[in-house]
Subunit: 421 residues, 2 copies
């Protein structure tokens, strides 16, 4: 396919989504819920085709020498399809944010202003190998009256085709244009570039995946982007910490699931309690096979595997590695986080309310936690019901993004002939 | 100055702003209000220096052959300074959105979530010749606890220097770091490029000015942008319109102040009332020296100055020119607006509530008006008290942006040692 044809193809998908969004905007909550239920039903009916497609993808990935961890993310089985179906059913039960009147006022000249929640229109999703994102994103989009253009990873193409085929059959049964869910079936690198410059048809782009993908989307996109997911999260153990609590949180935040964005990557320890605290946490980390990269002071207290470098403080390890730094005080901890943090989740453990207040106030992150593990930054844990990603920027949405974050608003202004003097 | 030095200089300004924002975040509403009052006071004390600087800018602009309309935008006199001062005083009286608890919930595990309104941090403003933007933007930023980096137009440099000097003296008197207001004094084109890529220091960029400037900022920025101001606004006179009302609105929306973004550029007239309505509005437009560029049908009813082209429908004239198109029905009007609109303000005049409902629901714009002139899309008219611009995108803010739109939020999560199972 020539680059001209590729552009024509991608823009056609985007344009069809835009046209479908003009239909979607007129659907009631009930109609959208029926569509979600049909989508769930069709996933079940089509499960064998989906599993077969997934087997082909996995076979190809193995032939291509894709690492085992990525193949694991790609793999689906009947239980995972059931999980996707369950996710769609949960969406049905959630409150539809569209149509909510956020504010309402009558101005002195008699004109009535209503600030009303509306769908964005068309949302572009650019993501990597997890096929569940395909179903989650389509479901969240339909619930909020948005059309969606999906650009998943190359390895998952056949799986995504089978999933989207089922979802679109579901839309058709519910009398919603199947073009509201678009899958870009060309996985050349440039198809992403064309999509994220299609400002005429897309209203929002959400990248989900590694730091490289997200960076590329931010750099190239002409469509507004919500940056998601990179989490270089810190836990600061303050001098006035309850050390038993600090130990439990430090262990949980690193070890319970190290591959996710809300796990910690650096532990900051106040020098006044460093000897005592490191003596408690380090044996636990060692037992769990956590590799410790510590600063010189840490190394003088416990023997570390490696002395930490600038790169270690900046790294999102996403595995059983942790950087440890002994800091002079609260101020140094805050400055370290200002410098290395990615505005995701930052936590302090302390019994000193003044120190906690200063940390909560000054640390610039989507979530700032006091005496709570960083692992709770998550749509389900926050009670939002479902999430399309975790925003690490400050425009529009911050932290876990649920249904409300997939909407915009507009002003409806009603009058009786008012003109401006 | 070499390009290396230019980059060093711009980034130094941005970094200083970031450091100041860490101070600003800790100031109370009262402290910020005192700063605004001092800024106002200093503008008055320094007025002679400001006026002298402005005279120099104007003289230079005239030497450079800058058009009269742009020189008019650049010019300030004592009355305009009083207007700026009044604007700062009005900000003092407005409610500070920072610190507002937007939502609050205790989760089943006992952790307490608070969604709290916070400043963005550092806002970059890129604008053209109006010096009042300098004072408005600085005032709105300080009120909301944000630092600001101003990059005004080349022609206004001396004026902006004098204004910012006064504002910074005001900050100092109020014990707030004067580095919270930064003016980029290098007006090479590339200084904009460096600023809007300074993702490390800036949290938000707002461009204000012509379509070319806004387009450039969207294309080059790595910092999240709020797109503002380009308004190709339409008025649709439906078949069931009260024609007297339609005439008044059509005249007001075009003629009362044609140079602004919420004036209309195209009039869409339903074919069923086209003869009648055009016979009423055209003489009024002609009397006001409005140039009419009409479609063939319009031309067959009244003789137009020029037959409208695609370019005319796409143009934001910002002067006494209007495109007129006779449309078959509501659907054609909506499709025309879908195609040519810039998502600013769109209006319908009709007595038919069903038609109005469909127009309000389907037209995708920041403000959709029924029987009201488009000219009301404005922060003051909406009762927001002040505005930093009118957003025409859907991410974060839509329509007039007041104080609340200059804030983000974060989650404060307080617990008693909760860890994730």
């Amino acid at each position: 396919m020539s680059s001209f044809d590729l552009e024509t193809y991608v823009l056609k998908c985007a344009k069809e989504a835009k046209q479908a969004s003009d239909q979607l905007i007129m659907r009631t909550t009930e109609e959208k819920n029926i569509a979600l239920a049909e989508m769930a039903e069709l996933l079940w009916q089509e499960r064998q085709k989906i599993l077969d497609a997934n087997k082909q993808d996995i076979k190809q990935a193995q032939l291509n020498g894709i690492p085992e961890t990525r193949i694991d993310r790609l793999m689906i089985d009947e239980a995972r399809i059931e999980g996707m179906i369950e996710g769609l059913h949960q969406l049905v039960a959630l409150i539809d944010p569209v149509g909510e009147v956020i504010e309402q006022v009558t101005r002195p000249n008699g004109m009535k202003l209503e600030k009303v929640r509306v769908p964005f229109g068309v949302i572009g999703m650019v993501y990597e190998s997890r096929p569940n994102v395909t179903v989650d994103a389509a479901g969240l989009a339909i619930k909020t009256g948005n059309a969606v253009v999906l650009r998943g990873g190359r390895e998952a193409l056949k799986t995504n085709q089978a999933l989207v085929n089922a979802l679109r059959l579901g839309l058709e049964r519910a009398n919603i244009p199947s073009t509201a869910i678009q899958l870009i079936e060309r996985t050349e690198r440039e198809s992403v570039g064309i999509l994220i410059r299609a400002k005429e048809w897309l209203d929002l782009v959400i990248p989900r995946g590694g730091a490289g993908l997200i960076q590329r989307v931010i750099e190239e996109s002409l469509v507004p982007v919500i940056e998601t997911g990179v989490g270089n999260c810190h836990l600061y153990v303050h001098e006035a910490a309850n050390l038993k609590m600090a130990k439990e949180i430090a262990f949980n935040a690193k070890v319970q699931r190290p591959s996710v964005c809300n796990a910690i990557e650096t532990l900051l320890v106040d020098q006044k309690i460093a000897d005592d605290f490191l003596a408690q946490i380090v044996p636990l980390y060692r037992e769990a096979e956590v590799e410790i990269r510590g600063c010189e002071k840490t190394n003088s207290i416990i023997e570390v595997e490696k002395v930490a470098t600038e790169e270690d403080y900046a790294a999102e390890f996403l595995d059983l590695t942790i950087a440890v730094k002994v800091v002079k005080d609260l101020e140094e901890a805050i400055q370290h986080i200002h410098h290395y943090g990615t505005k995701h989740t930052e936590a302090i453990v302390t019994e000193d309310q003044q120190a906690a207040k200063q940390f909560l106030n000054r640390v610039d992150a989507a979530a700032v936690n006091h005496n709570v593990s960083t692992r709770f930054t998550d749509g389900f844990e926050y009670g939002l019901g479902a999430e399309i990603g975790i925003s690490t920027q400050k425009l529009h949405a911050r932290g876990p993004m649920g249904l409300q974050e997939l909407t915009s608003y507009k002003y409806l202004v009603r009058g009786t002939g008012q003109i401006r003097e």
